[in-house]
Symmetry: C2
Subunit: 199 residues, 2 copies
DNA sequence: GACAGTACGTACCGGTCAGTAACATTGTCA
DNA sequence: TGACAATGTTACTGACCGGTACGTACTGTC
């Protein structure tokens, strides 16, 4: 990622400082919460200074939004991996995805979905951090409903929404209960729900 | 609630200031989040002064915990009302409770479960605000599993946990999507899940 | 070697955070 | 009237908040 020789790549010429800042922000924002972490702590751990942060990010809120956009990209990678593992079989796609969610959600130190958490922290409509989560959840809902229809559910919208509720419940329960929590049962319950929802 | 004549009631001699403070704290903490609200704003809206707050509550964290204990009491009132409305019929008890959750969760300005939100805001183990939520969820899980067993579920623990996931999902989705969100389908999905889980 | 542009640091801003000390005032009951 | 508890008033602390004006060191180009 050196500063390319012929300047042929338009964007993504992130200087080192910005990358370090975003890396530290990702870790701290996810683990401790966005409001709980000050920019001073971020720049300290990143080994840079505050002006460096504000040269790359217009505000703390936008830094949080950047973190969440990265988070969302990683989310869709995991989701698509489950989809591609079971081509043409939406039921197995959903179960595969939820199995992994359930596994991760009962690991020690699990902190739920970064986007969900951010929306809880910032209820104010239009907040840049909140918007990332809202858009992600809306798209996820759309896809789950589509997959439910593909499965042949009697009421695809209801099933898709039910699956979304289970997923969000796993995110939250995972960080509330820790190991041994109800999130471990998310895939099993999703399977039961799907079974009961087919025509 | 006058200052009783013979001083026969030990506790609950809350002076007016503390009540007003707690009332404002409940509103602001729930709607905007605990970290987002400063003690100055609370005392301002309560029409009292900061020393009055700190005479009744040892810290902001403890004020938040007090708000959550009140919140939890109201929660169990709603839960028990659903239980008492359908004596001996745990399935209808659960559905009744979730129907009300689903209704509330799609109202404008809905902000989810105060205890869940607080746990998201304070991931640090042992935080007084977090403890209230953790205990509440643990007890709720216990009761849901017991009700699932009473229903005659093939795997009561799985069904109880599934119901808990749906509930938490409704809390979160309610504040993420607002009206028209997936939380409206929580009771329907719970009913399907129960149906699929009976022996 | 002069220059330009970039990447970064030093030092600081006003404001707000939770929390407190010291003292004055009010209301209530005996 | 006197005692006491509840509350208000004022002013303050030190730490931290997000954010910025300004100076400097490095790098490549001609």
């Amino acid at each position: 990622m050196e500063k390319s020789d012929t300047m042929d790549q338009i964007s993504e010429i992130k200087p080192r400082a910005a990358e370090r800042i975003l890396g530290v922000a990702r870790k701290l924002f996810y683990l401790e919460g966005i409001r709980a972490v000050g920019v001073d702590e971020i720049v300290r751990q990143a080994g840079v200074t505050k002006p460096s942060l504000y040269r790359s990010f217009p505000s703390k809120d936008e830094l949080a939004a950047s973190y969440l956009r990265e988070y969302e990209a990683a989310f869709w990678e995991r989701f698509d991996a489950a989809v591609e593992a079971h081509p043409g079989d939406p039921r197995q796609q959903v179960i595969a995805f939820l199995s992994r969610v359930g596994e991760r959600a009962v690991m020690v130190g699990y902190r739920g979905c970064g986007m969900t958490n951010a929306a809880v922290e910032y209820p104010e409509p239009g907040h840049p951090a909140r918007l990332v989560g809202e858009n992600n959840k809306r798209e996820l809902r759309r896809r789950l409903r589509a997959m439910a229809a593909e499965m042949g559910a009697a009421d695809p919208d209801t099933l898709g929404d039910g699956l979304l509720l289970l997923i969000e419940g796993a995110y939250i329960s995972g960080q509330l209960f820790g190991p041994g929590g109800p999130a471990a049962a998310v895939a099993r319950n999703a399977d039961l729900l799907i079974e009961a929802s087919l025509k």
